[in-house]
């Protein structure tokens, strides 16, 4: 047996129950070619994605197409108007948040894009936001535009009729949880392979 009794000099010392060891590391983040061009376009109040050889437009672009495993060199400007594909009403105040609750954080599929971006919905009561709602970007004042998606302050309703046929990215072919079709995971048999054309019993 190992002797685990404390030496006499420590017997009256108060036991340590916890320690705080704060850590901070600073990084100089590299956005890369694709995302840098996206951010530069934002400074011109344009929203630019990249089109993959298979036709999908990724936004924001990271430079790689997960279907073909290839670069996505073709730039495509997308609309500043889009459709809410999903949303969440935030009712809790949390550390670092400057938003007044309740507020709405939403996934917005801009016209011409094949990936939703996440952004705020404002200028409408939270309980009126819905899937299919058409929204448009509201930019900061020109003097405050910077290479960040926060240069768009939020999105607001356009007043157009809802898109009742709202297409949720991946619904047809599967990307992540939302892509389960009829309770079945998007496996090889269910999903067409974009490289080989094999498989795909789904739509």
């Amino acid at each position: 047996m190992v002797d685990v009794t404390l030496p006499p000099c420590l017997r009256d010392v108060e036991a340590v129950r916890s320690v705080r060891t704060p850590a901070q590391l600073d990084y100089r983040f590299t956005a890369g070619h694709a995302t840098s061009r996206f951010l530069q376009a934002i400074t011109e109040k344009r929203i630019v994605g990249q089109r993959a050889p298979g036709g999908r437009v990724y936004l924001p672009p990271r430079g790689a197409d997960p279907e073909l495993g290839q670069p996505t060199p073709e730039e495509v400007e997308v609309a500043q108007v889009g459709t809410v594909t999903s949303f969440c009403v935030v009712n809790l105040q949390f550390y670092g948040s400057v938003m007044e609750i309740p507020y709405v954080s939403a996934l917005i599929l801009l016209d011409g894009a094949d990936l939703s971006i996440m952004h705020l919905i404002q200028e409408v009561p939270a309980d009126e936001v819905r899937i299919g709602m058409r929204v448009e970007a509201v930019w900061r004042d020109d003097a405050d535009i910077e290479p960040t998606l926060e240069s768009i302050k939020w999105f607001r309703p356009t007043g157009e009729p809802d898109d009742t046929d709202v297409r949720i990215p991946g619904e047809d072919h599967g990307t992540g949880l939302g892509s389960w079709v009829g309770g079945v995971a998007p496996t090889e048999g269910l999903v067409r392979n974009p490289r080989t054309g094999v498989g795909g019993t789904g739509p």
Binding site: L25, T30, G63, A64, G69, Q70, R195
Partner: protein, 353 residues
Amino acid sequence: MRDVAVISTAQTPARRRVEDLNEVEMLMPAIGGVLGRVDMTIDDIGFTCSGSTDYLAGVGFSFVSTLDGVGPWPPIQESHVEMDGAWALYEAWVKLQLGELDTALVYSYSKSSPGDLPMVLTRQLDPYTVAPLWPDSVSLAALQARAALDAGLVSTEAMAAVVARSRKSALDNPNAQLAWDRSTDDALAEPHSVAPLRRSDCPPITDGAAAIVLAAGDVARDKVDRPAWIRGIDHRIEPMALGLRDLTVSASTRLAGERAGISDGPVDVAELHAPFSHQELILRQALGLADHDNVNPSGGALAANAMLTAGLVRIIEVAERIGAGEAGRGVAHATSGPCLQQNLVCVLEGDDR
């Protein structure tokens, strides 16, 4: 044991700072290269395993976004280790041993340039009593070098000879980052950086990526003339607490080398993952290669040391020499953690000619 071989390799050139590319953009040429070289696509791969860590680039879940560069759709069989790619290769090798798949893609990458690497590496230490002191990786290596010097197991002259030989060998390595032809005396004339280490005893900070394709049996023979067969592979770890280890020797390397069967045949070439010069001397002792005359012909980690990648690159360097017929049998070693805490040894061999 099922015959599994390295049949294709690729590296991106080691650079101090890959500033214009994000991680997936940096990785894609290695993936495209390693598959293209053996006329394969991701659809020909049974299992994919990668090695990387979010701490280096400071990006959460970075391996998920780099996976895009592989073409993982429809869903592929895939895994990731928060370790050097050599351990990703080990996982893939085990997977192929199961016998249900014949091919595997292994890759790893890192961008160390966005952060302060010696400080970032403190985060792998014991979080209660050591990490809060922020002992940087160079200082810990210097402690080890001091212990080895005091024990008489290494000398400053031998360390300088490792430095001079490695950087000179690197002149022939197009992927190397640090290469020069200077004498041992030049190295010894340098002032200490963190005594007893001089700047040239330390590895460069590197951004880079590397990839390997593994194949079993006849699939390997069909694809290439001379597969580099994995004849033995083993990895061992020592305690996290630095005070519980004898830093002057590498018990885990010795054990891994024995289990991998180094001494079962001749060693034509050895690539040892020794980021600091004294560590090559410790590793040579542990592997029975003290006087071997063909260690780290690539220049080793002193010439390019992409974190989590330099170990996989050692396997690549040995496999390429076997594939080219320059070597019949070789040893590759990878390390992880501070002061050679964890070590992997892989013995590779070509077919008799």
